[in-house]
């Protein structure tokens, strides 16, 4: 039961990741691309937690957490770059 | 008191950090609480120059209420938006900009409000006005912008005003 659910969710998020990639490649503006990257990061976090759930291990938690933290930084950096040019000013 | 203020520049933050540490350690024990507390004192001390004027939370029950309201709204809005995305044709949607005049003045409060708006699917807070007295919000599908604005002011801003000011 739970295994099926996990695999279903895997499939959903897997598809989500690929859609994000598709968006990154095909989008017409950088903003959308960054958005798609951000979404991809979030989906990845979900995937990692799921995988930890599947294996019953907590070893992936830190990675998920760090990604959650750092994904933000990189998205902000891209956005700042597009808005101001300087990331740090 | 002054000394206490200098050692604990940020009691709320200290508590938050201690909780974060215990969560991180993921095994509640005396060790982790003590250690978290030490770090929770040290880190605000280090970072206090970056947070010069600190807000004071006045109404704790309201904080809890606010969180519950927001969580509920998130769940509801998720379903609404999922329906829009999956089943509504793009042409039928009516995306809209909404300007919300703010009564809040504290940056922290404004941030919480804007964050709430963004986290409830369907609305995204997009910008502040040049002096920070209005919030620009984008709605995914809002046939009636004014209603959305009023709801936001009613549901969230009112509560936040009580919490922060």
């Amino acid at each position: 039961m739970m295994d099926y659910a996990i695999h279903f969710t895997f499939a959903c998020f897997g598809a989500a990741v690929m859609m994000c990639l598709w968006r990154i490649i095909t989008a017409d503006g950088v903003g959308t691309r960054v958005l798609a990257l951000d979404t991809m990061v979030i989906n990845t976090i979900a995937l990692m937690v799921l995988y930890g759930l599947l294996l019953g291990t907590e070893i992936f938690f830190e990675a998920a957490m760090i990604i959650a933290m750092l994904g933000f930084v990189s998205t902000v950096a891209y956005a700042r770059f597009m808005l101001r040019g300087n990331i740090i000013e | 008191m002054k000394l206490l203020r200098r050692v604990f520049p940020h009691p709320h933050l200290t508590i938050l950090l201690t909780i974060v540490w215990v969560l991180l350690a993921n095994a509640p024990s005396l060790n982790s609480v003590v250690f978290g507390l030490i770090l929770g004192i040290v880190i605000p001390f280090i970072t206090q120059p970056y947070w010069p004027d600190r807000p004071i939370l006045r109404n704790w029950p309201m904080v809890v209420e606010y969180i519950l309201v927001v969580l509920w709204d998130i769940v509801v809005a998720n379903f609404t938006v999922a329906r829009i995305i999956l089943f509504k044709r793009d042409a039928d949607r009516q995306p809209n900009w909404i300007c919300i005049p703010l009564e809040l003045r504290s940056p922290e409060a404004i941030t919480v409000l804007a964050g709430t708006i963004t986290m409830t699917p369907g609305t995204v807070s997009c910008d502040l006005s040049a002096k920070g007295h209005n919030l620009l919000v984008h709605c995914l599908d809002a046939p009636d912008p004014d209603a959305v604005r009023d709801e936001i002011k009613q549901r969230y801003e009112r509560r936040l005003k009580e919490i922060f000011e």
């Binding site: 895997f10 897997g14 990675a63 770059f81 | 540490w21 970056y50 809040l104 941030t111 920070g132």
Partner: protein, 962 residues
Amino acid sequence: MSLFLIAALPFLGAIFPGLLIRAGRNVSASAAGLASFLAFTGLMIHAPAVLRGEVVTARFDWLPGLGLNANFMLDGLGFLFATLILGIGMLIVLYARFYLSRHDPMGQFYTYLLLFQGAMVGIVLSDNILLLLVFWELTSLSSFLLIGYWKHLPAGRQGARMALAVTGSGGLAMIAGMLILGHIVGSYDLSVILQNKEAIQASPWYLPALLLILLGCFTKSAQFPFHFWLPHAMAAPTPVSAYLHSATMVKAGIFLMARMWPVLAGTPEWFYIVATTGLVTMVVGAVIALFKDDLKALLAFSTVSHLGLITMLLGFGTKVAAVAAMFHIVNHATFKAALFMSAGIVDHETGTRDIKRLGGLRHLMPVTFGIATIAALSMAGIPPLNGFLSKEMMLEEAFHTTWLDSHVVIPALAVFAALFSAAYSFRYISHVFLGPERQDYPHAPHDPGPGLWLSPAILVLLVVVIGLNSATVAGPVVSASAQSVIGGELPYFKLKLWHGFTPALYMSIVAVLGGLLLLAMHRHLERVWDNLPRPEAKAIFDAIIELLTQISRTITDGLHNGVISRYAAIMIAFTVGIGYYAYATGTTGLPTRVPLEAPIIPIIGWICLVGATLAIMWFHRNRLLSLVLIGVVGLIVSMAFNYLSAPDLALTQISVEVVTMILLLLSLNFMPTQTPVDSTKARKLRDAAISVVAGLGAGGLIYALMVRDFAFPTISGYHLANSYKGGGGTNVVNVILVDFRGFDTFGEIIVLGIAALVIFALAESVLSSNVRAYLLNRKPHWPQSGDAHPLMMVVVTRVMMPIALMVGAYIFFRGHNQPGGGFIAGLVVAIAFLMQYMASGYTWTIERQRFYYHATIGWGVLIAAATGLGAWFNDMPFLTSDFGYLHWPPLEEFEWATAMLFDTGVFLAVLGAVLLALDSLSRFAWQPGIQQEYPMDINPQRDAPPVPGPGPDTIIPVGKET
């Protein structure tokens, strides 16, 4: 006196003239003269023994491993040459003192001269052919300096380079020849080599060795076709010409042929190569000399001719010829040096050496006239002068020699050369000194003081004395030297004026009469000569060198054209090729591992990775997009690490990823955001081909590796087993990093620290150049938005940063036992500070910064090193770790480990390095006007209570409240 000292004296003496020149020209010259004189005296001490036929030796093992030993020997041959070198050397020192003008750096001159003298003495005294080579090349070098002494004359520079190139290359060939010779014999000692004639001549390597050695000799002795450098060396001051280019250096080749005569001569190869070359040189030199108008050029070609003569004699391979050669060496040295000096005097006094502008000097310069005439007559072979004697002997030998079954060729050509020889000698006398006096000499000529004419006078005296009394004066030396050339019994010979009516006498008479006839016809012949098409050696040489230079330039510039992509392509192609070769020449077994299954998620990851990578290739012109895609790749790689049981790697990868991306964004801010098209289709195809091949190589290699097990148990088994026991940590990767292989990590943080330092230094140097002005006036890529530091960002950062620091601390403390560690913690903390930078701006943040990045890096490295050094006090090697457990009630026990301290060093170094790098880059964008007062641009609280709305035109400036 020891031979070492004799050989060393000129070198020692060379030091002084240069140093003493401040004390005056006379002192300098005296020092040089004294050195020569002492050496000469030392030589003379050995004279009796040598003339008795004894060989004086001195040995010193210099480089026994190679066989290069400082062994010297003095036999007759060496004695003859050494006497010439040192004796004439002293005369030249005297002559030069008065010859050189006030403006010439005389100290330098004597230094060079003595260096040369030492080298020559070294050649003739060497008993080791490698040592001989050393001195041989030294003569080339010192003559280079001497020829180029007058730096302001282009002819001097070119002549010097030409001489160096020709004689130097000959010397190089000789190196090979000598090495072969030494190999055949098994020793490089001359005395040993000279005993091994049979072995050498029987060896298959005889001919190559002979050719190579002769190449050296011929170039040095200006034999045809290498003769052309000698006339151009005449750009040197006359003392140099007299010394090097008549008496000594050019005879080095002759010397060596004589030296090697016992082992190399006597074969048909020797005869045909050496004798023919000598013959041709003799003829060619003599003919050309007649038509030269420059006095020194005339003498130079005559020298070429006479050197050819001696070479020919040696080439004959008969003992008598060898004796004649020795005798002619002496005679030529005397009269030619005297002639050069007299030419120098003429030049010095009249201001020209052009024969066409001279004539009639006999009354104006009687002394010079006398000297020059006697010397020239000797050169022409007029009895009773010494030149006559040796020429007779040469003609005699030539008469008896057959060449390719022909009895005529050699005698005829010898007479022909002698005829021209007489002619140019007579021309030297008549066209310079005889004839009517002229009015248009550049200077008013008169005889110089004795300082100048004394030296040639002494030589001329010798010319006469030897001629009249050859047996007693020159006899012993000639016999002794001939003895050492020939080796065994001396043949019967007599040095005397009258041998009776021999064929040689008739030939001589023909030569002299013919010479007079030629002189008479000179004007007509000259016209013919001038119209004769003939190759100009210098032009050819210059053209060759120029061609060589051009080719070199083309090759060099063509090969190293600064196109890095080509360099890289070559390297990659080469690597793949060699790698494939290595693979193909080995054997590989079947797979021994069962591959892991590939569920759907890794496949999706793979698709994303490959898709993103291909998209990067496709869209790489759009730099921002490529960066975003690189981010995707990094994310997936990090995920893959996680998936494949490497949580530490995943953490590191993702953190590094973010920092790298920010660095790239920071720099992209100043760079174009688009890459223009500058590759052709063909080029892209080529690049694509190379990359595909390389990709296949890398992928194939790792696949081949992964499907097979390790051939041996890996060393990491030990790490797994000892990580907890010996290192006190359960995260084996971390224990390896901070303990088992802590030294790697030590190096790694140093790399990072250096990187930051480099970046800082570079930023400093860029910002202190004129780039600063450009940066200040730079326009952004696109219009900037308002609100540089949005309120929400600032507020969120205020919460996020402490939390991020907390996470950093957590990652750090758990690292030893769980994924994490100082490195990742450093990155996380750095990113936390970075958030603050991004939120509130550089100026605002830096004002509140409480620590210095340089110091942080320094502390990090120092702490890490100190942790390592701490082990010394335990008498343990660097970086030996220790750990234990602490228990403070009521807390539970916790672990301490010195590795944690080391990790702290890592943490600090990483933190400092990342922040210093980011900080340096941020300074590029910093404008002097920006002084931020507030952390956020918009803060309604600041304006409270709200005033009724200001006009719609209100402008909010960046980072500054109105």
